[in-house]
Symmetry: C2
Subunit: 304 residues, 2 copies
DNA sequence: TTAAATAATGCTCAGATTTAGCATAAGTCG
DNA sequence: CGACTTATGCTAAATCTGAGCATTATTTAA
């Protein structure tokens, strides 16, 4: 039995959520768990930090799975232990590192910052409707559609940004993502959705990581791991929006951040472009402990 | 490399939260991951169901760890994958199964149903205070006490029932639990707290499971996996209270349950003892899907 | 038979939180 | 200077929560 580590390594650059990939964007970075490390997490940290030249601010285990399919030999399992980790894309010199991709490249339907993405009404809803109709009896048909509608915020249902994994799994079941097809099995291409696929079950792991992060930012101050030392509240908000895939109400966002005393003013203001200059803030790392224990909230009300 | 499965198997019987143990209550049930199963979860399910003669309603992975310490040979790791699973203690005939223990036996300080347990003021607070004082400088001392106070709800701090793991780890660091001591290392016994220890890191795993479950019942309808087919709202409430380790406000509890349409009346009433008979309810399994997707809430306000 | 005692339920209220906007201030740009 | 952009202050309304009062239905003890 062998153990692999797989990482969903997230950064937010220029208001876009990014993940580190390998294999021309078809895989998540992965490596064997080498026994010369004390623990799994230590092993992961060492390995990722060597690749990115950035300390990992936040690391969290996602899920462990063992799939026989993934191994050549029958009866042989590879155990994969997946992690979510937060970092920054650019190194100290601001140089771009290769391999980073926008995560909405893999999940175009997850980005609701500009409202419901066209792909949902144009492609996903019809596909899921067709899938619903394939069910044997009318009860199963309506159950399928119910599920589809709730998961994707169709009909009267609200969009819930945390259901990234459920949505992916639904699309998988409905066989409208290429991963659901075996090797060279039919002309899938025609019926496929936009959104890049990945090898193995890496897109599923990515979905798990996205879901976890979207849930986490609501009650733990992890966003700050993605920010540079000083930032404006708008930058902070845009980072949250990038991750959550939805717009936030600006005034309420600010109120909550300041109310919880998560940040302090640096005294500086932004030098740049148009509009009134924004005050700069820094994260009060000293509240880390309290908040990590007590919990905190980020507002996720809709915007506009 | 070898993989073990460890299960925190929870039931609530007679208003008490119970866990399945082995080795005279010194260990959690564990077994090797056998390769003749498709997945980890399938393997765990099969194995536990054989032991308990109960289908597992709810299974969730907790954490995977690899500790060199746990293995004899240097450089050899055993990977342990821990799970939380919910079931019922009694089999169909109502016969008691061996090995079940009250979980507060291992964590007496976690049961606040009758208010703050005496052990906190009498033993834990003094021990943690002493530990704080051992720190080198005054900043570290006050940081230690701050942490202790927040974690255990001392001073002005609120008790947070979800911090089971943090509390255990704090006690471990302060070396007031026997697991923190090496084999036969000194007369620990004198300074030890009430609360049964476990072998390996099983008490830590149990703490992880308790914490996860306490968090989960607040937003997923998992309590129902622990109930029998029909139940009164008081029984339901007492089950939640048993898990959460705190009392709830009865009227508010009912309001939330009914408001969310999680249950439906069976038309029956309880036959038993004192007081006005209670209506019996059953869980509306058909809302399982919606709720599993949409989330739901259990109230956890204090009672009295 | 009646007075506790025990539970179940119905309702109300005040305070806190959340959502959605309005209004204004302080800059940049053409 | 006027249009435009972004930052910020404030508030009203709706909802959610925590607490507690009051009443009803049964069992048990006096």
């Amino acid at each position: 039995m062998q153990a692999d580590l797989v990482a969903v390594l997230v950064a937010v650059t220029g208001g876009q959520p990014r993940i580190l990939t390998t294999g021309s964007g078809r895989a998540l970075p992965a490596g064997p768990f080498t026994s010369n490390h004390r623990s799994l997490q230590a092993s992961l940290r060492a390995w990722v930090e060597k690749q990115t030249h950035h300390p990992l601010g936040f690391v969290e285990q996602l899920y462990t799975f063992a799939d026989r399919e993934r191994s050549q030999q029958l009866g042989m399992h590879v155990i994969s232990i997946s992690y979510l980790a937060l970092t920054q894309e650019l190194d100290e010199t601001g140089a771009a590192q290769p391999g980073w991709q926008d995560w909405y490249r893999y999940f175009p339907w997850e980005d609701w910052r500009e409202g419901m993405p066209g792909v949902i009404a144009e492609r996903i809803a019809p596909a899921l409707h067709a899938w619903s109709e394939q069910a044997s009896d009318s009860v199963a048909r309506s159950a399928r559609w119910q599920r589809a509608a709730m998961t994707f915020g169709l009909d009267e249902h609200e969009w819930n940004e945390e259901l990234v994994l459920q949505r992916y799994e639904l699309l998988f079941e409905a066989a409208v993502v290429p991963e659901a097809w075996g090797e060279g099995e039919g002309d899938a291409a025609a019926s496929l959705l936009p959104g890049a696929a990945m090898g193995n079950d890496h897109r599923r792991i990515l979905a798990t990581g996205m879901a976890r992060l979207r849930a986490k930012i609501k009650y733990r101050p992890v966003v700050f791991e993605l920010m540079s030392e000083e930032f404006s509240l708008l930058q902070l908000q845009q980072t949250v929006e990038a991750l959550a895939g939805r717009g936030l109400h600006k005034q309420n966002f600010r109120r909550l951040i300041e109310q919880q005393a998560l940040v302090e003013e640096t005294g500086q203001v932004t030098a740049v472009g148009a509009g009134r200059p924004a005050k700069l803030f820094r994260f009060r790392r000293n509240v880390m402990l309290e908040r990590a224990i007590a919990g905190n909230k980020l507002p996720l009300a809709r915007s506009h």
